[in-house]
Amino acid sequence: MSDEAREAVGDYKFGFHDPENATIRFDKGLSEQVVRDISELKNEPEWMTDLRVKAYHHFIQREMPDWGNCSELNNIDFDNVTYFLRSSDATENDWDDVPDDIKNTFDRLGIPEAEQKWLGGVTAQYESEAVYHSIREDLEDQGVLFLDMDSGLREHPELVKKFFGTVIPYGDNKFSALNTAVWSGGSFIYVPKGVHVEMPVQAYFRINAKNMGQFERTLIIADEGSSLHYVEGCTAPTYSTDSLHSAVVELIAMKGAKIRYSTIQNWSANVYNLVTKRGVAHENATVEWVDGNIGSKLTMKYPSVVLKGEGAHAEVISVAYAGAGQHQDAGAKVHHLAPNTTSSILSKSISKNGGRSSYRGMLQVTPKAHGCRSKVVCDALMLDSDSRSDTYPTMEVGNSTADLEHEASVSKVSGDQLFYLMSRGFSEEEAMGLIVNGFFEPFTRELPMEYAVELNKLLELEMEGSIG
């Protein structure tokens, strides 16, 4: 990286960018034709083209949400977004076949190394499509399908057609409509009955181009009694103009299955991150979201679980870090539709240097869902008085047999803690870093160790050079 580039990137470690060597790049802006062109380029079945077009018209008509950070949402210039950019003509299964500049990027992000050490499969998406994909042979032999979404649709059209959009229909919200219209890339996973995927599989999403829109679509189906841990990471270069990331993630956990979906979102501070994530848990199934939001300009994301079958369980652990110029509007939603379902939501947020973090949560218990238990805990930590933290919890409880707990706290770093740590040799920044890492510990301990170490380093970096 040149000194000039480094200066532009500042403290954000992943803000570098590569030359843009697109093989196909659409003109900026969105129209029905753009939607049709994406579908045609991918040679999709007609039902998918029709679905995209319907979703596009819904997107155009649908009002912008009147909640969250409306003023920022209304700043998004949809005409100044590139909706499709192909950077490599093929999805390779050998890193040596991936174009050099792209491979270098993923090397710098440590993906091939992680893959060798501890992952069961990797998909690496660069701009609109996957440039690399692999899965361990033993998983393949057990019938596990792990593909990028485009290949998933090509190779398993009946499975995709059966489940696509069933958890998050395009009409769910404006951005799910947008995603359904222009989706490209993402992961498609099917785990057969009774198969336990022991090693996590990972997807890594990288935006490189300016004013890029990335709209990956992920569909994960865990058949009866199976289990899977899926991990995703995201970064982008730092530009002075904005990019848009609007993904849709649908999870389906059949009877007795378990899906854990872990995210560390570390977009650069020029990315709008507006993502819809929802899972359905059937009888005695478990869906867990482990959701970390460190980067982006504005994130609005509320991982959700629909507890559809008796005895199903939902777990959402989320953290958000909002620094200067950032708004993390994050949280969780759980819908208890069946009896004896249980859920636990833990949300922790940190605001610093004028950053804003909001917890927005929804807990619903329907009249028929007897004997449900739920615990919601939200903790906010403010590192200075310029920053802001809000909580918007909603509870809709339709019967009297539910056992619900809600705890919320807002705290500041105390002078006593700082004095104590500094008396043990830590500088003020190091002390802050320790306190912040400790505050997020209930989240980091749920991550694979490699991620936890990386996240702690990231947070320590955020604490540097910021205390006056």
Binding site: Q417, Y420, M422, R424, E430, G438
Partner: protein
């Protein structure tokens, strides 16, 4: 004692918090290898003395100075003092949620020591110190002071002192709230550090002095030392309290 053995010198120290004077002309010199005990009623300024020597930002020095190893440290930050070899065992150690004791100790030693022990050497020393203090290994995976009993907190303070090997150890009511066994163990820790350091022990009770032999006992009243003696002074205070010291004409025999 030669000049080079001087660890701490407090000269005519006046200290205020929010414009309320707390220390009013303190003078105290501690040399290496000496154990000084400071006693006095609540509010006499004992804890303030320890905090201000460690550099607590809430205390304002209105006049006078503090010298550590012959250097004026008024401008040094808290962590610079720690890195220079000063240590404060807190009366109420702060809770640091989510930070494991093991990680904390390792990082602290790395911050303070120029050439910190690493890997196996560090673990060996840690194990030995924990054995001295009769501490369970399981403490290392707990969060710093989180859910600790009073006695556990004080033992963790002493463990840090053993690992950091300070040149000046300030112990603020480390003996308060300890049962007899814990008191004996904490004293063992102090005695192992004391020969290489200057020690300032703030206490309300004579009983710690059954285990730790002080060279000097000072009595503080209203922010200044009114009387200095040997261990026998602590015994007398235990029997008679502080009232007799306030008789203006009283002269110690």
């Amino acid at each position: 004692m030669s000049v080079t053995d001087e660890v701490l010198r407090v000269e005519n120290l006046h200290v205020s918090v929010d414009d309320t004077p707390i220390l009013n002309g303190m003078n105290l010199t501690i040399n290496r290898g000496e154990i000084h005990v400071v006693m006095g009623r609540n509010g006499a300024g004992k804890s303030t003395l320890a905090s201000v020597v460690m550099g607590h930002p809430d205390y304002e020095i209105t006049s006078g100075s503090i010298f550590y190893m012959g250097t004026n440290i008024d401008e040094m930050t808290v962590f610079e003092r720690a890195r220079a070899g000063m240590f404060l065992s807190f009366q109420y150690p702060a809770v640091i949620p989510g930070v494991q004791v093991g990680t904390f100790l390792k990082k602290s030693v790395q911050s303070v020591h120029d050439e910190p022990l690493k890997g196996r050497a560090f673990r060996k020393e840690l194990n030995a110190a924990m054995a001295t203090l009769e501490m369970q290994k399981s403490v290392l995976s707990r969060y710093v002071n989180d859910g600790f009993s009073g006695g556990e907190k004080k033992r963790l303070e002493i463990l840090q002192m053993l690992l950091l090997k300070p040149t000046l150890a300030l112990l603020d009511e480390t003996d308060s709230g300890l049962d007899i066994d814990a008191l004996r163990i904490v004293a063992k820790g102090i005695n192992s550090v004391a020969p290489q350091a200057g020690c300032l022990i703030i206490t309300h009770y004579q009983r710690l002095l059954d285990h730790v032999q002080p060279h000097y006992v000072h009595v503080m009243i209203d922010g200044t030392i009114v009387r200095t003696g040997g261990p026998e002074l602590a015994l007398k205070l235990e029997e008679q309290g502080y009232d007799w010291l306030e008789e203006p004409q009283e002269v110690e025999a």
